[in-house]
Subunit: 343 residues, 2 copies
DNA sequence: GTAAATTATTTACGCGCGTAAAAATATAGC
DNA sequence: GCTATATTTTTACGCGCGTAAATAATTTAC
């Protein structure tokens, strides 16, 4: 059953009756050879175990078909989901995706870019940390390699940016909350790493002003990526201290909201929009678990698939046209209001 | 600021005053050259931008310093966490880890192994699907490359296996539940992919018999990786039909438990071990979100770090001694009971 | 059937590095 | 200071493949 192994392309050329340069053409683009020779090659490929040595293949190329995908933290479901979509898109387009997580450590982002550099990738899809990113390294990298940013923007870096329009999405939620009950307070991390956080805060302030309500922002102490723990500890503290001016809290993201819901449950507070409820909590991102919180979480859905698809397509277009000089494009997608039971 | 780029090792040899073969030695093992030459090299490295072309480096080697890490699904926090630990362990040991997720699709596991094959890895850490894995491909792969399995075992495949002792962990939980209230029913997927699921069912049956109670197993319909959704839909249905013989449910894993907790909340059931509670729910795995469910989930903690560390160390030992002939080792680690509020 | 166009083969070189062998140099021991 | 040992340099070859140029074979067009 196990097919005979072939050492190299010369040996394979011998057994399949096609010259080595033609084989080389075939492996670089199967459509570039005549149908009959292609058939001959593929029949031999079925009989013998041969695949080109990728190291030898890539040695001379100044660029490969590798695409790097760098995300801040694969443990965060948002990135694991969007990373998956991007990876599959690259694969479908005939590239070799390489997903790298920085595990929540900005220092690893730089390491990952350095590691990628050695792989001579055709392009990179990068969701940067933002504020915590080593911008000089990202910039230097983006000068050498086509880079498309997603999720978090760094002004002027990379060929393009695809993300969610926080102004639109937060306004959608604020409008809904104001219309259906008391105006929301805003709950966030004191020193958020992600630039979307500050965009959302700003959007909240502007939206509240437009609706003619007083804004109130409450900030949780704490560092790192344990958002649920921080949301639970700090949110719980604020709830028990009656720190919120209204009975409605808009959390900067779902993971904070999940923590706060847990704290509210522990305090015996009834959360939701029912008549017997004393608190409304809303989130942002449509985290995979937000359907299963108690109560289920009203939130904003970012269009993961669309962000992933657009980012990938944008990068492919740049790679295939090798046009790095054109105007940097920023694409902002709309969020959707997901009404569940928590608000 | 940007350092001058050096084309290749010859050019670098010229600017740093060390011969190319010595440089080659240095890059393969910095300790293999004299201190003074090492200093000379590293000073030049600081002044010039040079790194060896990894494709040229790996072209002739029959094995590289790459280590493949293949997990069934990075979207599952268990694997994203354990994958992270393993990745860092490889990195710390001077290897180049490459994490590949099969995204819940057994077919991708085979593709991932094939892709890894081309990378000539020194070894692979594999958490296989188990029942759904293409065992013949995994076997063929493991004959060529040192493979250490973790989480899920495939008898006789790979050099070693590291996982959790489901007998011990389930018994721990059953014992606790029986001692502190009504004996547990067991809730699981009807056709689970993961081999741990059937081990846990078996362990539950044996443990209940030892304790002298009647066992009851309830199985949720549904395929795929949406465990929370399945747990919620099927668990909710069973709860509302009073399908459970006792007021205590042990779920095969935390994700099912999270779904069932959500359903119980929707049904207005009070879950926990307090006097006013009518239902106890326990899980298994200590999922990162199990601290934040409502109520927080009593569960079994698998020792992620220890599994990761042991798996990595086992692989390193095999690689470095190049002993593939020795006895296949199976290591089972104990789980810990994490008592929270749900049971 | 013949000329033109397409495709394949032959030949040959180079990429960047690993690595082996012999010669040269540096270091350590006494 | 001298020998024995450790380390580096010199020289040279090969890895597996990309790729260019010239030639040969095949296909297409008419």
């Amino acid at each position: 059953m196990s097919k005979q192994k072939i050492r190299n392309m010369d040996a394979f050329s011998a057994v399949c009756g096609v010259s080595r340069p033609t084989l080389s053409k075939y492996f670089n683009d199967p459509d570039s050879v005549k149908r009959s020779t292609r058939d001959k090659i593929e029949q031999a490929l079925a009989r013998y175990d041969y695949r080109p040595n990728i190291y030898a293949v890539n040695q001379n190329r100044q660029t490969t078909r590798n695409i790097g995908i760098v995300v801040p933290n694969l443990a965060d479901p948002f990135f694991s989901e969007i990373g998956r979509e991007v990876e599959l898109a690259c694969h479908d387009a005939g590239y070799s995706p390489i997903v790298l997580s920085s595990h929540g450590r900005p220092g690893l982002e730089a390491s990952n870019l350095n590691a990628l550099w050695s792989l001579k990738p055709a392009g990179v899809l990068l969701a940067p940390f933002g504020r915590a990113s080593d911008v000089s390294i990202v910039e230097a990298f983006a000068k050498d390699v086509p880079v498309v940013l997603f999720d978090a923007n760094i002004e002027g870096v990379g060929e393009a940016f695809i993300g969610t329009d926080n102004n639109q999405s937060v306004d959608l939620m604020v409008e809904y909350l104001c219309r259906s009950g008391e105006p929301p307070c805003f709950f966030e991390m004191k020193s958020p790493l992600n630039p979307n956080a500050s965009k959302r805060r700003q959007a909240y302030l502007e939206s509240m002003q437009r609706h003619g309500f007083a804004a109130q922002i409450l900030q949780a102490e704490g560092e790192g990526w344990d958002f649920e723990a921080i949301g639970s500890a700090e949110g719980g503290r604020m709830l028990s201290e009656n720190a919120f001016a209204t009975n409605t809290v808009l959390c900067s993201n779902d993971r904070l909201a999940i923590g706060m819901l847990s704290a509210a449950y522990g305090l015996g507070l009834r959360v939701g929009h029912g008549p017997d409820c004393t608190l409304r909590i809303a989130g942002h991102d449509d985290h995979p678990y937000s359907r299963f919180t108690c109560p289920s979480l009203t939130t904003i859905a970012q269009d993961y698939s669309e962000i992933a698809a657009r980012a990938a397509q944008t990068l492919f277009a740049i790679i295939e046209s090798s046009e790095s000089g054109s105007q940097r494009k920023e694409t902002l997608l709309d969020g959707k209001l997901i009404m569940r039971n928590s608000a």
